[in-house]
């Protein structure tokens, strides 16, 4: 057995049996200042690598939008430190390195200085095929002492649809080129034959190939810096401290949880949707122990299926830890220690940990949902401790536009424009969420310049803005998402679609009395008169406008309009076809009728809340011209809203009895029935609680009692 494989096994054993990574922090205790100085230098090396790599990359997704991350790993593949950026890969690169070691790469493939290994197989490491990892070993004095690694999101993979995130995939074999832990460079030299292979298998090869150079450049910078530091501090010191940093983080993780979270049991549920009529269940039971031990149990996850929303274990761990670092461990070291300190149960055989590599994994909704339910549980744990500034209502499952075909220069292309990185955030406990600012999977993201994309892609923006009232209504509202309106320019040979939007459901719940953010959707108008309107200088659509149910593109354009829900595969488009996309908004916090009327007024003035919403949702009386708040009338409106709630609300016991009858008679929609049939079978725990709550007989399954006549959803 290879020496490093033995080390991987030994570390796993230590974590399992003794719940620690190292027994002691000898070097930290000996000289804590030197310990920190070396760490800071290591962090600088990964940050530098990220900055430089972004300049080497040709893809706007990396250059402009920061979809990349670099990290430094121990010899056995545990993360020591990570740059900012796509932080969900803190553990996915670790998984890749360990996979190579466990599969005898030391002996059967050979690992030498100047080798670079590439992986985009999400079952090994990474999250989906566009997330592409490169690692290189670091040798000092002839010994492998660590690994440098980098990830970029490459927005085209040669999949069945352009852009790398094919919503129509039903298995891995629709998801384009997948290279599992392949040596793409030797002796610092990229293999030409592999480049030929890539260039003939993806629509925009330069992104993939230049991103490889970017990652190799970054990895080399880290490697060279570590070698210098080893020369300075000594190999023994480096080898020992690099492990102590991880143990140190494990300890800090527990201390942090103990000091800021109220002990107890927390529960939250997120629902994600697939295709036209399949719901996916993502429940979390989080417990905070008195000693700060955090346990996160996802028992009750749905089964995997023939759709693009299965997520691998590395992906789920990665996205979940990305959320965990942002919402709780933001002030500790970004490394494997925080993951090892938590007890995570992501049951095998579920949508977040499929039983084999067949299942398609492009769309990360279920793993993003693990972050969403974490936001929910954690917000309550902070709240009970009094730290209301840390309340962060659930965020959204992001969606976005992708396109491909022949571009305005006559070249083949495929792309996803990553605007989805600028959704609205969940509300905070003392402030509104941020508009168009954030995606859970990359806290450093940027929406990018429309003009840069317009140079590259055959699309032109008619408008890009904040979608008013899309954030969840609340005392503090969720952040509003981004809306974009594009038209196809200078090509008649293209296809366009969305990797999301999916079912007509909410994904970002509101908490403590607030509503979820709007669902996402897109509109398409084909065979339009846009060209003539531009020539005649007639008004053009730019946004959804003041009447969301009658959007500007429908009111101002002639053509074939369609609201696309649940049908998202790329479809052929022609010049002057118009496409509208929303990207998602955060959930709110608190009862909307407790919102400060001045905040409502300010939102209307800033055009992020529509006048028609103010009275209906917030119970605020606002003069439509001066925007003055009438406080007396506002008080009366709000009192009336309370009265109407008391009138329409029924006692929970009565509601439960009614619902029970519905369940017993099988009066459930088909989507709900399918959901419960699946999770009642897959999770005895959920089944027990479901039947107990509704007081249903042992063995109850909705499909057994259903008359099969109930409607299956209108989509």
């Amino acid at each position: 057995m290879g020496k490093l494989k033995e080390a991987v096994i030994a570390k796993e054993k230590s974590l399992k049996e003794r719940s620690c990574y190292e027994d002691a922090l000898l070097f930290k205790e000996q000289d804590p200042i030197q310990f920190e100085v070396l760490y800071t230098k290591l962090v600088h090396s990964v940050l530098n690598a990220r900055e430089v790599a972004a300049l080497v990359s040709a893809s706007p997704v990396v250059r402009e939008m920061g979809e990349c991350v670099f990290g430094l790993y121990t010899a056995e593949g545990d993360a020591i430190c990570l740059s900012v950026g796509l932080m969900l890969h803190i553990h996915t690169m670790s998984r890749m390195i360990k996979w190579m070691l466990m599969n005898d790469y030391e002996e059967k493939v050979g690992i030498r200085e100047g080798d670079y290994f590439f992986n985009n197989d999400p079952y090994i490491g990474g999250t989906h095929s566009p997330d592409q990892l490169i690692v290189t070993p670091i040798f000092c004095e002839g010994e492998l002492v660590g690994w440098a690694g980098g990830v970029t999101h490459v927005p085209e993979t040669g999949a069945v649809e352009p852009g790398g995130l094919p919503a129509s995939a039903t298995s891995r074999f629709h998801e384009g080129l997948i290279l599992p832990c392949v040596r793409i460079a030797e002796n610092e030299e990229i293999k030409k034959d592999l480049e030929v292979f890539v260039s003939r298998n993806v629509r925009t090869p330069e992104w993939w190939l230049l991103d490889n150079r970017a990652k190799i450049a970054g990895c080399r910078m880290i490697r060279d810096e570590v070698k210098k530091l080893v020369a300075e501090y000594g190999l023994d010191y480096y080898a020992a401290t690099s492990h102590e940093y991880i143990e140190d983080t494990m300890r800090a993780t527990k201390t942090k949880a103990k000091s800021v979270l109220f002990p107890g049991r927390y529960r939250a549920v997120a629902i994600s949707g697939v295709g036209r009529r399949l719901l996916i269940h993502v429940p979390l039971e989080m417990t905070v122990g008195r000693d700060g031990q955090l346990s996160c149990d996802f028992e009750g996850l749905s089964s995997p299926g023939a759709h693009a929303q299965n997520n691998t274990l590395p992906a789920t761990e990665g996205v979940f830890m990305c959320a965990a670092i942002q919402h709780l461990f933001y002030d500790s070291r970004y490394n494997s220690g925080s993951l090892y300190a938590m007890k995570l149960n992501i049951p095998e055989g579920t949508v977040c940990n499929p039983p084999n590599i067949f299942y398609a994994t492009g769309l990360l909704s279920p793993s993003i949902a693990t972050g969403i339910v974490w936001n929910d549980c954690l917000s309550r744990a902070y709240y009970a401790k009094g730290y209301r500034e840390e309340v962060f209502a659930p965020n959204v499952v992001t969606v976005g536009m992708h396109c491909g075909g022949i571009d305005q220069y006559g070249r083949m292309f495929g792309a996803f424009n990553m605007e989805a990185s600028s959704c609205g955030t969940g509300a905070r406990g003392v402030l509104d969420g941020l508009d168009t600012a954030y995606a859970l999977w990359n806290p450093e993201a940027d929406m990018g310049d429309a003009e840069v994309w317009e140079q590259i892609l055959p699309i032109v923006w008619l408008g890009r803005g904040i979608q008013p009232d899309s954030g969840g209504f609340g005392k503090f509202r969720g952040g509003n998402g981004i809306e974009s309106l594009y038209f196809v320019a200078n090509t008649n040979q293209a296809e366009m679609g969305s990797f999301g939007g999916r079912l007509p459901i909410f994904t970002s719940a509101g908490i403590m009395g607030a509503y979820p953010g709007s669902r996402t959707y897109r509109n398409i108008v084909q065979d339009t008169d846009l060209k003539a309107r531009i020539a005649d200088r007639l008004p053009l659509p730019h946004y959804e406008g003041e009447m969301p149910d009658k959007p500007e593109i429908v009111r101002l354009l002639n053509g074939k309009a369609e609201l696309m829900v649940g049908r998202y595969a790329a479809r052929p488009v022609k010049e002057y076809d118009v496409y509208y996309q929303t990207n998602g908004s955060g959930g709110g916090f608190g009862d909307p009728i407790e919102r400060d009327p001045q905040l409502v007024r300010q939102d209307v003035a800033n055009k992020v809340t529509l006048l028609s919403t103010v009275e209906r949702v917030y119970g605020v009386a606002l003069d439509s011209t001066t925007l003055e708040v009438d406080l007396e009338k506002t008080g009366a409106l709000r009192a009336a809203i309370r009265q109407s709630r008391l009138k329409r609300g029924i006692p929970a016991k009565q509601y439960i009895a009614q619902e029970r009858e519905r369940l017993l008679s099988g009066d459930l929609t088909k989507v709900a029935r399918d959901l419960y049939d699946d999770i009642l079978k897959i999770s005895p725990k959920f089944a027990g609680e479901f039947r107990e709550f509704w007081d249903l007989p042992e063995g109850y399954l909705p499909s057994d009692v259903s008359d099969q006549k109930t409607p299956g959803g209108s989509v």
Partner: protein, 150 residues
């Protein structure tokens, strides 16, 4: 040095009166370890009743000590019963069709075949305490069961 904030500042924080810049500073500073006690005492001053607050469960709801029992109580005084039972089971419920046009524009709302909004109100004051967005037939979510003996 341990950080501690004056009560007035914390009151402003709870009431949403601090600027985003000041909140940012608080978020970026180490946490004040006496926060929980101070927030409980501030909340105790705000409620019109006198039972001792043990923990602020969520907006409007507190676990209080009453005649040796620990019960959930609304800021308005309405009592929900033992904290170990989900308070939602003693609330008023309204199952909203998200597409009813009263809250969301039609195109932005979930389809009720897929997901409904379950609004929970306090029977005493009509405050909206929680909104669940769940498929029809989903059991009530028991969001938080604190470990009070810690």
């Amino acid at each position: 040095m341990a950080i501690s904030y004056p009560k007035d500042l914390l009151r402003d924080l709870l009431e949403g009166n601090l600027s985003p810049e000041r909140i940012w500073e608080i978020q970026h500073a180490p946490k004040d370890s006496d926060r929980c006690d101070k927030v409980v005492s501030l909340e105790q001053e705000r409620v019109p009743w006198s039972e001792r607050i043990i923990v602020c469960l969520q907006e409007h709801l507190y676990i209080v000590e009453k005649r040796g029992e620990r019960i959930i109580k609304c800021s308005c005084g309405h009592e929900f019963g033992d904290y170990r039972t989900n308070w939602k089971e003693s609330a008023l419920v309204y199952e909203r069709n998200p597409q009813d046009g009263e809250v969301y524009f039609h195109t932005r709302a979930a389809d009720p075949d897929f997901m409904v909004l379950r609004e929970f109100y306090c029977p005493g004051c009509g405050s909206q305490l929680e909104v669940e967005a769940v498929p029809p037939g989903y059991p009530f979510i028991f969001s938080f069961l604190p470990d009070l003996d810690s």
